[in-house]
């Protein structure tokens, strides 16, 4: 089933790669934000079934975005180069995929959450 997915990723090339991966899987990119302010604004308004959040957005943690998504009932996963070590305590139950990742890794993570 195609999903509408919000992508929050501060690295331009990686953001484009994720768009390609998601499109190839048949999903639709509902929105793309690369900095915390845009991500916060988008998280409030986007119509999405799922979100993929980079943890560190140019030096600022994306956890406030996660809080908005939780409140709105939008499931999300973290994608980070830090691995689980960089995740704050309240989000330790959230699925994490480590960068760099394969299309299959992303597909599996999406299936476990959506």
């Amino acid at each position: 089933m195609p999903l509408r997915i919000l992508v929050v990723e501060d690295e331009m090339t990686i953001a484009l790669l994720m768009e390609d991966m998601l499109t190839d899987m048949g999903h639709e990119v509902a929105g793309l934000a690369m900095r915390l302010p845009q991500a916060l604004a988008l998280a409030e308004t986007v119509e999405a079934d799922l979100a993929i959040l980079d943890v560190n957005l140019d030096g600022r943690m994306s956890f406030p975005v996660a809080d908005i998504l939780r409140r709105r009932g939008v499931p999300f996963i973290f994608a980070t180069g830090y691995g689980s070590a960089g995740i704050d305590a309240p989000y330790l139950d959230v699925k994490v995929i480590k960068k760099p990742f394969l299309t299959d890794d992303l597909a599996v993570a999406i299936r476990t959450v959506a």
Binding site: E11, R35, Y82, F101
Partner: protein, 490 residues
Amino acid sequence: MSEVERPADAFPYGGGALGALIRAFDWASTSLGPIDRWPAALRSVTSTLLLSPVPIVLLWGEDGIMLYNDAYSVFAGGRHPQLLGSKVREGWPEVADFNDNVMKVGLAGGVLSYKNQELTLYRHGYGEQVWMNLDYSPVLDDAGAPAGVIAIVVETSETVIAERRVRDSEARFAALVNATSDAVYRMNPDWSEMSALDSQGFLVNTEAPSTTWMDDYILPEDQPHVREAIEAAIRERRPFQFEHRVRGVNGSVGWTESRAVPLMDAGGEILEWFGAASDVTERRRAEEHLRLIINELNHRVKNNLAMTQAIAAQTFRGTEDVGEAQQRFTARLVALAQANDLLTGERWAAASLRGVLEQAVRPHCGEQARLTIEGPDVQLSPKTALALSLAMHELATNALKYGAWSGETGGVAVTWHTYRPENDEPERLHIEWREQGGPAVSQPARRGFGSRLIERGLSAEMGGDVKMLFEPAGLACVIDAPLTLYRSGE
């Protein structure tokens, strides 16, 4: 000279080894004269001193003829038995002046008393420093006039040397405390009371015994761990060693490495603990900093690998000409690496827009005259600089291959300025890439990675509008984005 062996029951009676020597001595050859003609006072004092366990010497007459007991003979060492019956100034030639004064004062009826008097004596054939308590008083003859001097000689060398060692040791300890930057402390056996803490400015000193030291120096949440380490050290009677946080002067919190050794009595009971606490705050800070740097470095390595993966995936996506794709991929990796250099040069803090353009674009242009880079310098955040650098690389390689630099005469102008749409609105950055003089341009049938990176990626990165304009006169790229985003270095 007549040798008269006197029986043991004659004067002086008893008196141990010296009694016997005195009885056997030829006193007639001295100024004292034959022993049986000695005045009553001389006989009385001689009898008395021979029975004393305290070292006593009698110096009789102007010459100070020496009569002494067994205890004094021990003090005299190798000088005994020659001293017996000798003149005191000759018997102890090394202290003749001292004894000359003793004789003069004593025979004039005066007394002398010295506490821990230091003299150099040759008792065993070599000079040694000797300390003594010396008490001299006159001995009156039968007519009541001073005829000799009696001296009680108690050697105190061992006590003086021991006290001096203690004093030296205390001085060395004080010097050590002053020389070290460590705080030095003492605790009672169960650590319930700190008797003192002396610090060279790192901690507040404790001058009087304190039972509140734990609350004074250790943060509440750390106290259980410190207590645990103390209890283990007491239980196992081994040195205490623990690294913990500590309240420093003016309320700051630092780190200390604290070590204390138990001082025990002969029976192995702990008398007190003696400790030193060094300030390791800087080291801890450096370790923490290093940990953060390693984490960050690890993150950046992963991120760079992810970017490499992204560039590879998109360069090779749907490509037919693998050879050309490989060349593009390599060029893009080099552009990425150079952009990283640019950021490293600025210590990852910020990069200048001019620097980004010069590095990303200039190497692709063969003739300097065919490239114009012009605008007021602006600082970019590292992320924006990296993204812009990759985008500019795409435009430059495209210009070289298909655009203004592919022929003999075309040129590229990159210009920018900052402006405010309305007076109170935030400042914006407007960048234009314009090619002219190249082959005629038409709308491409398919958008490649380069255009997508620029139009979709860069616009999202900069939070503004980025347009590629395929104008017949030459390709143009117009970027218009808020400036505040990158000025703050967020």
